[in-house]
Symmetry: C2
Subunit: 285 residues, 2 copies
């Protein structure tokens, strides 16, 4: 009944006998609670967040719905393991373009081990994390001109510098993402812009992060999704979700300036694309 997710772009992948998340056909995402503290910390966050009366309703929608922890057959054949049961964010999409962007100018945080600090600082400096306050962690874009998904190799994605990150964000809303030519940003105004677009949602999140001192979202990602299958209403169903909470800490009255600064830098990139593209809606489908 559970199967490997088709549209996962970052994190552990459940294939070749490895442990990773699974999905069912009813829109649920099963994320294995690994043996270490990270899995437990993430489940603890979801428990706390779900019942936290101080989180405004309109903000709750930016997080996957949490259905508790359940035993499920692990993807690596190791038998039944506890899994967090979450909303499958891409469920119901036919041809979703998906991008995972890790927010923050650092992924480490006070009181981590020296080993973890060294690992993080190395990766944060090698990617755009330090310089931009975010890094693209993974992406999969439906190429409407070629009628197929385009997905660059993980090593290519993690090697993006400033220009690479900017290019990926342009390709994400283009009908020709896999071409060597200039990305046309054909869907920028529909996907990034407009009252249901990604920018509007990011600005809503930003307003919350400006003052929220409940949680520090260390090493969290923003997942962006939209639909490429043209339906009756031509609705892109652009979505923004926060994911990956293994390193969330209590805010203790301090705003999450690391996430907030990175989010605002990311928003500036999206605004720049919206401003620079003519946004003629020459959708390729």
């Amino acid at each position: 009944m559970l199967k490997v997710p088709e549209h996962q772009v970052a994190g552990h992948i459940a294939k070749d006998g490895k442990l990773g998340p699974l999905v069912d056909d009813r829109g649920r995402f099963y994320k294995p609670l690994q043996g270490d503290a990270r899995g437990e910390n993430e489940a603890k966050f979801y428990e706390s967040f779900s019942s936290n009366k101080n989180v405004p309703d309109h903000i709750r929608g930016y997080f996957p719905v949490y259905h508790g922890v359940q035993l499920a057959e692990a993807s690596d054949g190791s038998g039944k393991l506890p899994h967090m049961v979450l909303e499958d964010v891409v469920s119901g999409y036919v041809k979703p373009s998906v991008m995972d962007v890790k927010i923050g100018s650092r992924t480490w945080y006070p009181d981590v081990s020296e080993e973890y600090f060294n690992k993080c600082i190395k990766k944060d400096s090698a990617t755009t994390t330090v310089y931009l306050g975010f890094r693209v962690s993974g992406l999969k874009i439906f190429d409407c001109q070629e009628s197929r998904f385009w997905r660059p190799d993980k090593r290519v994605v993690l090697a993006y510098k400033v220009d690479g990150a900017r290019m990926a964000l342009r390709k994400f809303v283009s009908s020709n993402p896999s071409a060597d030519s200039v990305p046309d940003c054909a869907y920028a105004s529909e996907v990034y812009g407009g009252s249901n677009g990604i920018l509007e949602k990011l600005l809503e999140l930003k307003a919350w992060f400006e003052t929220q001192t409940l949680y520090h979202f260390n090493s969290c990602s923003i997942l962006m999704v939209y639909e490429n299958e043209s339906g009756g209403d031509d609705e892109r169903r652009a979505q923004v979700k926060l994911v990956d909470f293994a390193h969330v800490l209590d805010g203790n009255g301090v705003i999450d300036h690391n996430f907030f600064g990175g989010l605002c830098s990311f928003i500036k990139f999206i605004q720049d694309i919206l401003e620079s593209s003519d946004n003629r809606c020459e959708n390729g489908h």
Copy 2:
């Protein structure tokens, strides 16, 4: 004609034959251009900033006026040295309370030497820089109840944790800063609040930093000043100035998310003090 500044709270101090900034009696501050790249970088920043047409006029007021580089007798007796001639921010104040707050969750930046990185990360972690996105670097507060200045030792200030930083920001606007009792925040509403208060100025700066991509203000400080001498109009003359530009870099189209995040965290602290204090104006003078 030049003398050691009376109200300098951080940085190199020109006394005991050391090299440091000097002031004249006409409101100018002479900062020696040290032999290394930092002095040159700071002068280069002032040159660039002074002539940058993209800086809005209302933002220019948050920076000391720059009068160029002049040769002046160095404070360490080494003869004539080039000095940046700047506006003396506390000139004209009789009993100024002054606080220097270094903004940002890191003081290092991409491409610095390993030695500098190690020095910074150590200090950033030992102080509140990493956790709060700012650290108090120095302060000198006029105690109206005792009629004298109170100035904690530099080592004490740099050892502040979260509670220490919050306490210092409360003492800064209290009539009893040197007492062991709870700071009364007697001047919070006058100094932090109001249309000429510090919060309003910080919010104006914040609005600029939200989108400005001209400069990255690594390792810069916000200097806060106000007057304790009661004059005819009881005006506090609360001021906010950005100072210390030895590590400023070009923004290259990216917002300064490090400064911006820290600034917003700092703003939240000021707002919390304004909200928690009853703000009865029982000035001690």
